[in-house]
């Protein structure tokens, strides 16, 4: 199960609405716990696929390095990523699967329908490497912050 705060959940969905009709993307910083990944912070990233940003995303390695440093400085790890599917379901695609290499991490996908965030799903990349990796449906537990 993936845990994240209500504010982070809303923020990553809002990111997809802002970049519509293009895909948004970002990273999930947190900790890997026995029961699943626990997100403490989300980090927006730029989509370098300007050639076809409506149906592809890529985070520049240089930006990933900075995000990893940020996580380390906070005592956190990269535990997953998020992106949006403009006007397509919140299900992983063959491209998503082929390009997924962070085994043990969570991949959140939000459907943005006509500019509004619709369904948000998470998929856990299970396995030990490229040969046996697979996406598993992963429940999302949203934590409501106390004021």
């Amino acid at each position: 199960m993936l845990k994240l705060s209500h504010s982070d959940y809303e923020a990553l969905r809002a990111h997809g609405e802002e970049t519509y009709p293009h895909e948004c993307c970002g990273a999930l910083l947190g900790r890997s716990m026995p029961g699943g990944n626990h997100v403490h912070q989300i980090v927006r990233a730029g989509n370098t696929r300007t050639d076809r940003a409506h149906d592809r995303y890529n985070i520049a390695p240089e930006e990933l390095i900075k995000i990893q440093r940020q996580a380390r400085s906070l005592g956190l790890d990269i535990v997953g990523f998020y992106h949006s599917h403009p006007d397509h379901p919140a299900q992983w695609s063959q491209t998503d699967f082929a390009e997924a290499h962070w085994v043990g991490c969570s991949y959140i996908i939000t459907e943005i329908a006509g500019g509004k965030a619709a369904i948000t799903n998470s998929f856990f990349l299970s396995g030990t490497g490229e040969e046996d990796k697979q996406f598993l449906d992963e429940a999302i537990e949203i934590e409501i912050e106390q004021d």
Partner: protein, 100 residues
Amino acid sequence: MKIHIPTPLRAYTGGQPTVSVPGATVGEALEQLTGAYPDLRQNLYTADGKLRSFVNIYLNDDDIRYLPSKEATATGESDELTIIPSIAGGCCSLTPLPSH
């Protein structure tokens, strides 16, 4: 020098996020790393010894693929290597949903 290990590869370094290895060059440091943790090798390199296309290795802020001397680049004790798999993907335009 320090080598930072990304989350998915820590299963092969005993859970360690950072490994310190000796090495006068990038290549020597990576040899030391895969010598100490042999299971890492197949996750970093193809069967013919080439760095997997989705694996990026940075010497400080520079991708080693684009360094003039590549893996022969000299390193110092304070340099850091970071291994970072790529992150990409995208939606389903090649397999559109059937219309209703």
